[in-house]
Symmetry: C2
DNA sequence: TTTCCACCTTAGAATTACTCCAAGTTTGGA
DNA sequence: TCCAAACTTGGAGTAATTCTAAGGTGGAAA
């Protein structure tokens, strides 16, 4: 009759907590702007750019400045809490707050990035950390090309069936 | 007494041939500038940026334009003959003509990229190609952080031993 | 709770990698 | 050899990112 009150913290909530903790641990301040940016980063799987984060958070903070978005991203990347994945055919850097081992797929046509879970990446991470001699801050595991949708579009455009 | 005249084409020569063939196969023209850029790309393991390629080839072609470097790189990347690895702490994209399976290590401090051979990457490539549904043009397998040299430098700067 | 300052945010200017353009040149097939 | 499509070039243009100076604030300490 007693329900088991285990709240399963969602993946997104865990990510958000991790981002905030990373800032705290580094002695950086938790401003409302940073909280909002972390919240957005933790709850999306879209691999947003700085501009996209800005556009998404701006409504909640009309005074928000792009510089703050860049500052916060820079801090999170330098702390290893967010990965900088690079461009996707657009000239802008995409960010990923999902640190679970996976590779990312970028479409050079529609500029979207999606995840491809991949257990093998965990081994890769381990090996690189152990063998490289580098102090690893982040990874950028991206395959780029054309997504299924954009392949279809391209095929319709050129009559080569 | 007859020597066996097998010339073992060096890795770099193979790469150069592959780059030129990729351009030919795509119906693109082999201009002296493109040849020089391909030659440089094939013979370096420095993962150069467009500007660095320009600086390296310019002496041989005083009339060379940056636009030509960008055009050529764009063509090679779209053909999958060269990989665009993204930045290394500098704001510029680094390129890699070495298509052998490996991961790249970027130092955010000195902006250098080096290779880490890794057989596991071949499997990763296969799996992504097979399972993603994407038409894969290239990969960007980079771990970024601080190289051993820069770690040492950082340690000397901050007295935390 | 109040104080206080090092750290933050902000708007806008500055930087710069990269792209675009128009005019002149070249490649490579016919 | 001839020529049209493709290429190169210098310079202007674009836009992502960084820088700067002035005013605001988080959070530790009293
Ligand atoms: Mn991802
Ligand atoms: Mn490499
Ligand atoms: Zn697409
Ligand atoms: Zn270094």
């Amino acid at each position: 009759m007693n329900e088991v009150l285990v709240r399963v913290s969602s993946e997104a909530q865990q990510r958000e907590a991790r981002l905030l903790q990373a800032l705290r641990d580094a002695g950086l301040r938790l401003t409302p702007q940073r909280r909002a940016i972390c919240h957005y980063l933790a709850h999306t799987d879209a691999h947003p750019t700085a501009q996209q984060i800005f556009a998404a958070v701006k409504p909640e903070f009309p005074s928000l400045s792009l510089a703050t978005v860049y500052n916060t991203l820079d801090a999170l990347v330098r702390l290893g809490a967010v990965h900088a994945l690079g461009g996707a055919g657009d000239g802008a850097i995409h960010y990923d707050a999902d640190l679970r081992p996976h590779v990312n797929l970028a479409c050079l046509q529609c500029h979207r990035m999606v995840d491809l879970p991949c257990e093998a990446v965990a081994d890769l991470n381990r090996r690189v950390t152990a063998e490289s001699g580098y102090r690893i801050l982040g990874a950028r595991l991206v395959y780029y090309g054309l997504c299924p949708d954009c392949q279809r579009t391209a095929r319709e455009a050129s009559p080569t069936p």
